[in-house]
Homo-oligomer: 236 residues x 4
């Protein structure tokens, strides 16, 4: 007895010989030249085109996440590029794989906590608060909240995370601000990590281009290998 097939469907895109439609919009005539890359990401996440204020705020949030210097992700990307320079897409993918619970997860945690109206006062460790370097304020959060005010999106979620920061005497870091702003824009917390993933893909392309001209992976590898196994070798 054969299993009964269920239909599959997707509403993201379709095409005919003279037209490509993405999320219900004509790609050539309604999207190209009209939406910037951040607007397009907004369209993919929320299913509609942002207005001018949403565009400004969402682009700022995504731009914040593009580049953070030599992170574990950037190192994974550069190590992969060293072994497989013919596959830059694999080097970017390797870097994205580390965007898990430890780093990007924090942003998602903030959005979840705020959107579900969690009892934050009782939490021992609040995601989105504290930063090892940026004290007494994180300049990114200050600026993001400023843009939120300008665009009319500084609302209850922003107030809440700033309040909590004051209570806990900890800086609201960039992931805290972005998590709160995602709530203001009505983005589901489950989609928040995706903003980080797409933004970092851009940053990791930058690392590949720099690694091609000014490499560090080989040197980092040799140093690590020398030191890591040094104690194991018999003394001469």
């Amino acid at each position: 007895m054969a299993r009964k097939q269920k239909p599959i469907k997707s509403e993201l895109a379709w095409s005919t010989p003279d037209k490509i439609v993405v999320r219900g919009k004509d790609l050539a005539n309604e999207i190209l030249g009209h939406l910037n890359l951040g607007d397009m990401a907004f369209l993919m996440i929320l299913g509609r085109v942002p207005d001018k204020n949403e565009s400004k705020l969402f682009n700022a949030m995504a731009v914040t996440l593009v580049e953070h210097g030599i992170t574990p992700s950037a190192i994974a990307t550069r190590m992969t590029y060293l072994g497989a320079p013919e596959s830059p897409q694999a080097a970017v993918a390797a870097g994205l794989l580390g965007l898990g619970s430890v780093f990007v997860g924090s942003m998602e945690g903030v959005a979840k906590m705020l959107s579900e109206n969690a009892d934050i006062e009782s939490m021992k460790r609040v995601p989105g608060l504290g930063h090892p370097i940026h004290k007494p304020v994180d300049p990114r959060s200050v600026r993001l909240f400023e843009i939120a005010r300008e665009t009319g999106f500084y609302g209850k979620y922003c107030r809440r995370i700033e309040e909590i920061g004051k209570q806990k005497k900890l800086v609201v870091n960039a992931t805290g601000a972005i998590g709160a702003l995602a709530c203001e824009l009505g983005i589901d917390w489950r989609a928040v990590r995706g903003i980080g993933v797409m933004a970092r893909a851009i940053g990791l392309v930058g690392h590949i281009l720099e690694e091609a001209k000014q490499p560090m992976a080989l040197e980092l590898w040799e140093r690590a290998e020398d030191e890591a196994s040094e104690q194991q070798r018999p003394k001469r």
Copy 2:
């Protein structure tokens, strides 16, 4: 005898307690609210902020590449999400891994061919020409060249690929147009695949969000499994 260490350095980003600098620009004050996500990608690739015309053209190029419906990449992403929904970054990475020589490689091939002034007439198969569906024109190329004219970037590389298309009686497809436009913007052909990789990361996040609400991976898997092994099983 110990190996002599060589210094490593990166010029992408650095920070102090009150400042984050990316590509020489103050992130909070010179980038956030001023650059959109496509401009930021331009900055990462070319090391400088685009002017208004460059911004319009580059954003349109990147936006073109975001979403193509149910591609092999989208299927890989959705299959991965089915098994590891807790790791959306891994699902995006799985989809990026197929952006190799067959699909995105074509765009890179166009840029290399044009920038190195290759003898195209003698080539049997020219990258960037021909499309199985979009005939007699690819509406994306038409629109991208239109934006190139508006922004003053319709130059010798665009003319060349359009000329070759006419000679070979093949449509200049979107990868052909984007490859040519990358040359017009002075982007090294080695960086061209990166534009596709970053754009598709955005599109693949969209596929994950759709898969979460309206899944197809399980059904596609069951159909494939049933059919693939049917002939192997003993008849009953």
Copy 3:
């Protein structure tokens, strides 16, 4: 003020001009020709060479996990290979990325539950029990427990999972048997997913080789694309 460096070290391998040592063993003289690939995996996981019985059981466990036909992982691998045939390592990686909480996680769950002596009776859904096809027994579990008896490793964890299966009237599936056997061998539950990952890497190489000779990815893609976007297109 500079951060104080901490030393790094690894005990996995080191080498001198005439010797390579892996996990304390001379690779050329004590490992090659003496250990099979499963024994080597045992050495990597447990830090010691298995005896004859451990070798037989562990190899059987790992071999069980190598190949399962057209799974979501196999489809992700084949889709990736379609786009990037020059990077077979990326196609294998794409397939591994889906070995998350849904499929391989179950094996890990069994090992955790048994090794932590959880109150299984009260659990609503017990990992490692039940199978959509293999009823009334999973032939792999039957055989693995048989090998466990032969090798002297059928102990309290095996008895426990079989007992629970009887109580819940569900078959002990292969992940249930392997989870229990990992406990019998003293393998930490945190290492159990790794056995699945290494085994599936072998199986996925097999899928790439088959895809190269007898492809299915292109056909699966075209079918999915046609159907998924059919309803979106305007009727003609």
Copy 4:
């Protein structure tokens, strides 16, 4: 007009309620307890069960490739694990992604060159020859050729690579020996990289387990970040 569907099929595995068949063999009764993990890999690659000599040689080849200490792959794996400890499969995948043209490609190059009977004398750089540390011999190659002699597989490909090594006054390294031995076993050069990929998946699981107990990724990251951006920061 609808596209006509083509059938898909796979000969790798199928199952009925009481049986799982892999590559034509009954998994429970003909494979488990009879084949070790290397034999299973042989079956997946060559489609048949190895005899005793083939088993010994093939297992030795695969075992050689499992672990090489702190390589770029191992660093990518550890960096990924640092950010996403909940996804060990992603950490293994990240490490595999660097097994491209630079490292594992050499083994494939040897097998291709030997099996296609290339004019090696005229080649400037011969894959599989030379090693930065192991001189005047690579102990792995010496041992692998010894096992090849024992098992009756030291043939024309082994002789050829050893001859070339003498002519070029370079050591035949492990990738050179394994490439030649793959030819002796009748393994297609296109399948050779797969042996490296599966073996390294095992080694990378070992790195994750070590990183969990004795971490180095965080320290390596902090060192790299400090140094890389030091010169960029304004002097105080």
